[in-house]
Each structure stands twice: as structure tokens, then as C-alpha cells.
């Protein structure tokens, strides 16, 4: 939650049982020893401090003045992809908020002036100066769509706005996916528009790194701009954009549009028979659930209540608080789309859906600790390989790019792809690697 302090979470932090459940998938879901870890950070660094629970304890120690900032402490706090797996596993059992505390701890570091880390500064500066994370001039943001025949949502009324996001807009190796997305959606008759060079960064990196001020500033600008368009919905194909637009923006200001992920929209189109697939894929694939599309995409339900005790010491929230436990993440839509593609066999990994193992790139981990991001990707690639699949499919540019690095580093035979590429291929367009 924005604007919270460690004090606000003192009780939660004190009530951590140090049970280590946040290191495993929800226990019922452990399927083998090999893939039994769910937290990338503790998987690599091992000290308890690296787990979600460990970071809660660090938060408590900081609050109680037991420890002071040090380089190692900051390493512990930031060698974490803020993937939220710990949060789901903890909330399988508890009414605590580990992920909120991880965010608050980072926000406290930023407020105290010890963060962002040097490696994060260029990203945040780029957001401030260019409204994108890739240090590119604003003008370039629309270049990906130059050859497309698509409406500018600022100039013409549209039903649906495609919010491409910084990475799909600006990374040359990713721009094709944004174009494909537009083409596929248009072919299904979606009345689509884009913002081109006027699209701003969603603000996600500022949020995950802990610069709440910058995030709020960004979110405000975006909400205002998007509200003014009068669109019914905003569709994103970047899971990171989707996550903040859907779950964090409501914390800042009300929006007059619905936020959907492209996989949800595709599933809807498939169901309505508006996409007909003719070309068989003849492939076995496995699907990686991006954290921000899956467990971290639950609609935010504002709660401003207090904690109350009943039955002497039963702790309940008054008014009742709905905990985001990952129950209602977007898990089915991408699978429905994949199931509709001819000749495609989905073989699942062990860690999926709400307890998916992160790709490793989020939370500023990739920029500040590339070796950690790579190790995490390698772990996921290993799991993907174990399914016997030929292709590792996902629905997020950050995941795709980091997993591709993992594949290359491992010398794996796996190919990586985005769902939209498979859809486009099955519709008869494009080629797959």
C-alpha cells in the first residue's frame, strides 16, 4: 500500500512465525524436491534474511532501532524480484502482508535516502526525464507503430486502448510483438487505438524500487490522460503495466476505464468465435505465469479499517478486509487461448499459477543484480526443460527477455515465445523460430 510506514506493519512483522513457509510453494503443492523452492532470493543466497519472512524481520529490526543501514542490508532488501511468491505461500496460512512489507521496506530506504541503488538511478531518471525506462527520447515511443494502420486514441474515439508499455514500444527485439498484438486484435474486430509517442511509462519500476513519489506522480499523469480518452477499456500485453494499472492505480486516483490483459481479451475473442485458427502449431510448449499477470493481478480492494480482537485474542480486521491471496489472478485466460490453438500441447511445469517461480527480472533485480536475475531465469528454464516442452511461452516482455537470456546461458534447446506470437501463427500470420 502506498504511503504506509513500517510502524503500520509492526504487528504483522511481530507475528511472523519464522516458519519458512514463504520459501516453499503452498505446502500442498510441493511435487518434487528439485522444484520445491518458490523464492528466487533465498534459492540463491540461502541466509534466512533473503526470504520474505526474513525481510519482515529486517523491517522489524529497523523499526526497533536494532540495526542500521549497511551495504549488505541493502543487498538483502534489493536482491529480490518482489515477485510475491512469499506472499502467496504465507497467506495460504496467515492473515499477514509480507509483500506489502517488502514494498514498505524499500519505500523506507528511499525516504531515508539510502536507495535507490546506483544501478536503479538511471532507470528512475529516465522515467523523470523521458517518461520511459529505456533512456530513449519521447519521440521514439511511437516508432514501433509507424507502419500500422491504427487509430490514435487522442484523435479518434476508440473502444479499447492498447497500452504498449516501454519495453514493447522501445526494445527493437520486442516491437514486433506489439505490432502483432495490434494486428491480431484488429483482425478480430476490436476497435483499437494507441497513444504512440504520447504514451507514458506506467510507473511500475518506481513502485517496485520504492520511489513512491515518482510512482504517484507518474500514475496521476497517466490516469488523467487515460481518463480523458473516454475509452471503455485499456488492454496491455506487458504484465508489468497490467499489474500496476489494475492493482496500484486505484490507490492513487479513480479511473473510468477497465484494465484487461491481452490474454483475457484473446480468451474472450476465442470464446466469441472471433478468432479462427487454421494453422496447426505441432509443438509441445510449457507456459510461464508472469507474477504480475498471475498472483499479483488481483483487483485492489481499498481497506482503511482497524485491527480488532474478538474471543480475547482472535485478530480480525474491522471492517472485514479481503486479503489478496492470489486466488483470482489471471491463470485461466492464457491457458484457454493456448488450448484453442490447433496442434499445440501444453505440458505444465510444477510451479505454476499462484505459485509460479519468477523469471527473475522484476523489482529492479535485473539492473542491480544481473547474476541473480540470470540464476533465477536458469532455474526456471531448467524446470521448463524438465517438462519435455520445445517452447517456453509467456505473456510479458520482461519475462520473455530474461528467460531468453537464461535459455542462451544454459545452452538450452528451448525456444521462447509470447502467446500472441503463437496466436498470430495459428491465424496464418508470421513465422515461429
Amino acid at each position: 500500500m502506498l504511503g504506509k510506514t513500517l510502524e503500520d506493519y509492526e504487528k504483522d512483522m511481530t507475528r511472523c512465525a519464522r516458519c519458512s513457509l514463504c520459501k516453499w510453494p503452498p505446502l500442498a503443492q510441493v511435487k518434487s524436491i528439485r522444484y520445491s523452492q518458490v523464492c528466487p532470493a533465498i534459492s540463491k543466497y540461502n541466509f534466512h534474511s533473503y526470504s520474505g519472512g526474513g525481510k519482515m524481520i529486517i523491517g522489524l529490526s529497523k523499526l526497533r532501532g536494532r540495526v542500521d543501514y549497511s551495504e549488505e542490508m541493502l543487498n538483502v532488501i534489493y536482491r529480490c524480484s518482489v515477485c510475491g511468491a512469499c506472499d502467496i505461500s504465507c497467506k495460504y496460512s496467515r492473515d499477514l502482508e509480507p509483500l506489502e512489507i517488502l514494498h514498505t521496506l524499500r519505500a523506507t530506504c528511499v525516504k531515508d535516502g539510502v536507495a535507490p541503488l546506483p544501478a536503479h538511478r538511471p532507470i528512475l531518471d529516465s522515467m523523470r526525464n523521458y517518461d520511459n525506462v529505456w533512456q530513449q527520447p519521447r519521440k521514439k515511443k511511437g516508432s514501433w507503430a509507424k507502419k500500422l494502420d491504427v487509430k490514435n486514441a487522442k484523435e479518434q474515439p476508440v473502444d479499447t486502448l492498447y497500452f504498449a508499455g516501454c519495453t514493447y514500444s522501445l526494445r527493437p527485439e520486442m516491437q514486433g510483438i506489439a505490432r502483432t498484438t495490434v494486428e491480431v486484435l484488429q483482425s478480430a474486430g476490436v476497435d483499437l487505438g494507441i497513444l504512440g509517442e504520447e504514451e507514458l511509462c506506467c510507473g511500475s519500476p518506481a513502485y517496485t524500487i520504492g520511489d513512491e513519489e515518482l510512482f504517484v506522480e507518474n500514475a496521476r499523469k497517466n490516469i488523467k490522460a487515460l481518463n480523458s480518452l473516454g475509452v471503455r477499456r485499456v488492454v496491455t500485453s506487458c504484465a508489468g503495466c497490467f499489474g500496476v494499472l489494475k492493482t496500484k492505480y486505484p490507490l492513487v486516483e479513480p479511473a473510468n476505464f477497465e484494465v484487461v490483459n491481452v490474454t483475457e481479451l484473446l480468451a474472450e475473442l476465442v470464446e466469441q468465435g472471433r478468432l479462427s485458427f487454421s494453422r496447426p502449431l505441432d509443438r509441445t510448449i510449457t507456459y510461464h505465469d508472469p507474477c504480475h499477470l498471475g498472483r499479483q493481478s488481483e483487483t485492489y480492494k481499498p481497506w482503511h479499517g482497524v485491527e480488532r480482537k474478538v474471543l480475547n485474542h482472535l485478530v480480525i480486521q474491522d471492517p472485514p478486509k479481503e486479503f489478496n491471496r492470489g486466488t483470482y489472478g489471471v491463470y485461466e485466460a492464457p491457458r484457454k487461448v493456448l488450448a484453442a490453438l490447433p496442434g499445440l500441447e501444453l505440458t505444465e511445469m510444477e510451479r505454476i499459477r499462484e505459485f509460479s517461480f519468477c523469471c527473475g527480472s522484476g523489482g529492479g533485480a535485473k539492473s542491480a543484480f544481473p547474476e541473480f536475475a540470470l540464476a533465477t531465469a536458469r532455474e526456471r528454464v531448467d524446470e521448463a526443460e524438465s517438462t519435455g516442452a520445445e517452447m517456453l511461452v509467456t505473456a510479458c516482455p520482461w519475462c520473455e527477455s530474461n528467460l531468453s537470456e537464461g535459455i542462451a546461458d544454459a545452452g538450452s534447446r528451448l525456444k521462447s515465445a509470447s502467446i500472441i506470437e503463437l496466436v498470430s501463427y495459428a491465424l496464418g500470420g508470421g513465422e515461429l523460430s
Binding site: 511435487k31 524436491i33 529497523k62 540495526v67 538483502v76 485474542h313 482472535l314
Partner: protein, 603 residues
Amino acid sequence: MLSDDVFLELQGIVGADNATREPAILDTYAFQYIAELIVGDNYMGRPCAVVMPGGTEEVQAIVRLCNRESIPYKAISTGWGAYGGSPAPGMLQLDLRRMNRILQIDADNMYAVVEPYVVGATLQAEAMGLGLNCHIAGSGANTSLLASATSVMGQGATGVFTGFSNRNLLGFEWVMPDGELLRVGCLQDSGEWFTGDGPGPSLRGVIRGFAGAFGGFGVFTKCAVKLYPWYGPRALELTGVSPDYEATVPENHAVYLISFRGWQDMKDFGNMVGEAEIAFALIHTPAAPAVVGVTRSNKEFHDLWKSGLFEHMKYSLEVVLTAGNAEEFTYQRDVLEDVIKWTGGKVALCSITGPRYYMDLAVALSRLVRQAGIKKTLRGTPALLTYMATEWRNGRTPALFAKALYLGLIKQCLQARCVFRPGGSFWTSMGGLTSWDCCIENAIEGERIKRGWIEKGILMDDGAEQGWGMLYESGAYAHCEEVAFYDQSDPVCVEGSMGYVTDTVKATIDKHLAMSLNATGDPFHAWYSPHVMNYHHHVAGIKEEFDPANLSEASTYINRGITETLIKLIEEGGGENLDFKDILTLADNEEAPAGTDAGRPAE
């Protein structure tokens, strides 16, 4: 304070990345639930460093270094509980997380060789793939099998079939308190792991005693644990999304929740089913944690609990049947149903398909009318029915509850939810190993004591329900512990909860019930030893023989000097009035720094 030189040496042993003196990291080892009751703070003593050895040789090198430098040390596996730490700062903590391999599963001889960080969930997953299963302690599938087998208690829900952790310990590898390596059981001579005894005298009792040495007796680096047949699928078929998972109850398996008219029927049922050797699990879960287990949040629990009906489902047992074929299953089911009939039990929930669910619910309600009275039932029923209707609308039928119960019992995956979610923390007491009949006496007494502490506002009001209990080895022995919930962030609870412990300990002595399950550490020894043949002499003698420098941190094991001082204080100070918290404070004051020979008897 660890000198730079010694720290460098430690880094040399485990690698620079696997040793730390960073206070923020050290604090994540000092913090433990229950610490607030022991030291009055959420943190035990901060260790001087944490090291993560990668294998036995590294553990040996660390222990030898500790002996050379007189540094107290203690190992943890997953590190859940204050007993993994020390009340005093400055101890060296060995975190064995990197020793996480299943070294062998010998399916023919039905055992597995594991390192310390192998937990119930991982071994079970691998063993089930081979048609086998393991005993998982009641702490849950997130805890170490080795820690349980070598060092800590060993109660678990499937004990009627899978025994008790100490009985499942076969060969093991032990870095003794001075750093010497001993391979125990046939391992020493044959390199095989299939027995933990001999040739020569068995050391299994020596390393464990009653409850285990809780890290105060060197470091166990590998052990073999017994495996049991698993007559189920290679993996359970799961449905649902967190926090609601259910497992398909496989063919020839069944789960029952049975309620009884009173204690005597429950006693008879337990003994008969144990003797009949038909059950895979036979367990009593108090109503409050059971209802916590099937609800998603405390709020949902409270709504349901308010109906008041569950308090009256106190005489209940859960049974799981797992048969290898239809014929055997029919036999097990028929025997079970006969025993239910003989003991006047009523099936409240059962996984065997058919219209039975609805009948069972009707039976359960009529039973509640009888137990709670018509008025209370009528008052509570709307809440219950509203809950059930909502659940039904969401697809959670009684059949689904049965599947969730089955999953929880087989996979041992709901413990933390059941005991930590309600108030934040819990304490358990009583629950020594004894006959099932004595367990019931325990439960009755425990309920009386707990009610008093609930009335004082110290513990959560769970209806003062009696304890969590189960049978072992076909009912040869049993345990029933008195679980109580409190809020560790609330000074009222922190101040008062130890009084509850004192009362339960005194009751076990006064009423000749079994020794408390966690009767280890000097304050417990001081209460119990004079009533049990002054056993502390033997335990302290063993400790001193193997650990003359007293460096294997023993605050949850034994320090003769402290135990004896406390025994004297209890005798002189009108022990009856001395509460557990006072004793802990005295123990703190008395504690001789490890590494000296204070506390040892005069030569």
C-alpha cells in the same frame, strides 16, 4: 564478539558467501516466535555469526574451531522455534540449509537417507513416487525430518501407522560436540543405513533421551529414516486455488470425521481402531484449529465459530483409511463402521461418495441439538446454514471439505494456518507419551486449566477445547497436547502466558499425568526430575561426558548447575508458588556462559 581472524577462518571453511556477521542478517536468526515468552523480547540472543556449511567435513571443521576458540554453537535445520537459538548473545549459528539432499531412497528396504534440510514435503513427494511414505511431525511438512528424528520430539498425525520420529531413526552420522565424527548403527561397519542400533550398544537413546537434545549435543549431518508403504497414487491429484486446495480421495482411501457422545466412547474407539491396525491416521483435532484449517481468514472463522456449535463437537476423531486393494479396503471400512456402531459414534463427514453426505450433515445437526441443546442449535444454525449456503454456492460442498481434510492429513500442510493464524502465536504443553486413556485424562485436566486462563483474558477463547492428540504404532502409546493461542504482539499475553504453562506442568505432576511433551531445558527438568528418579543426573552426565567444554549450546537441553540450582529454589522457595516465568528469569541469571565449566559437578 568474534574476532576478525576467527571469522576469516570460518569463511575459509564455508566460503566467503556462506558466513556473515551482518547484524541485519543475524537478527533474522535471533527472531523467533515464543522468544517473547522466554526472553521477554521477540529476539533471542543475537548470534555472533551465521555460517552455512555445505557438508559434514565443513561442519566438523566449524565445531573443532568452536572448541579451539571456546565459542558456543548450535545448528538449525529449518530453524523454526526459539530452541534453535540461545537466550544469550554471541553463539555461532550453523544454518544447515545448504545440506538439502535426499541421498538415497532404498525402496526395497524402505528407508531414505536425508540431509538436515530435507523436509517432510520433499521426501514425501519423492517417496510417494515409489509407493512409499514417511512420518511427518505435527509441526508440518515444512520442517526437517532429520531434526525431528535426531533432536526434537516426533509426534505426528499418521503416527498410528508411521510411528514416532525417534522410532523411525535408523543409521545416522553425528559430528559429536568435540568435532569427532561418529557413524551410528550398522553404518559404522557396513556403510549401510538400515539400523540405528549396534553393533555394540545403541546410541539412539543417548542422543535423544526423552524429547531430544534440541541442538545441545553436537550436529547431526545425515540420517536414515524409515519409510512406510503408501497405497495411493504416485502424487495426489489436487484441485483449487490457494488458499483452498483439495485432493481427490483415491480409490480405496477414505477420510472420516466422527463425533462421540463423550470421553469414554472416544477412548474405546481409539483403542479399538488402534488395535485393529486399519487406520493410516487416527487423530483428534480440537474444534477451533480444525475450523481455522478449513476457513480462509480469521474473519471467516469467527463468523462460523460464533454459531457456538463447534464448541460442542469436542468428542471427535478423524480417521484416514488407505488400503492397497478393494478387498482390504472393504475390510478396513467394515471394521471401522462396526467400531463406530459399538462406540455410539456418528459420522459427521466422510469422503465415501453417495447421498451419505447429506445424511451425515443431518446426523451431525441432530447430534448438535443433543449436545448443545435445541436453543443454542437454533441460535447457531442460521450462521452455520448461511456459511454452508455460501460455501455451496461457491462449489464447496461437504464433499469438498472431506477432500480438504484428507489433503491436510496426508500432506500435513495446514499446521501453520491452524495454530498461528488465529492469534499470531501458540503454546503447547502437557502431551507426554502415554496410554490413550491417560491422554484423555490429560485432555480433561488441560481443558479445566485452559478455561481459567481464558477467563483471565490471557489466551484466546477457543472454547477451552481439549488438546490435539493421536495414537502411535497401532495404539501402543499416544499423546494429547494442550494447544493454546495467544497474540505475541500483545503485552497482556506475553506477560501472562507462562502462567498457563506452569499450571499445566504442575497438573501433570500432581495428577500423575505424563510429563509434558516439551520437558526439556533446565526449568522443565527442575520441575520434573525430582518426581522422576532424579533423571537429570543421567542426562547431565551424558552431556558432560560427550561435551566436557559445554560448547554445544544447551539452553533447551541441560545444564546441570542450573537445573540443580532451580531444583533447590523450588524446594526452598515454596516451589508451588514459583511460576515458570520466575524460573526462566532465574535460569537466565544463573546461566553459566557456555565454554566454561560452570555447572559441572566438582571433580
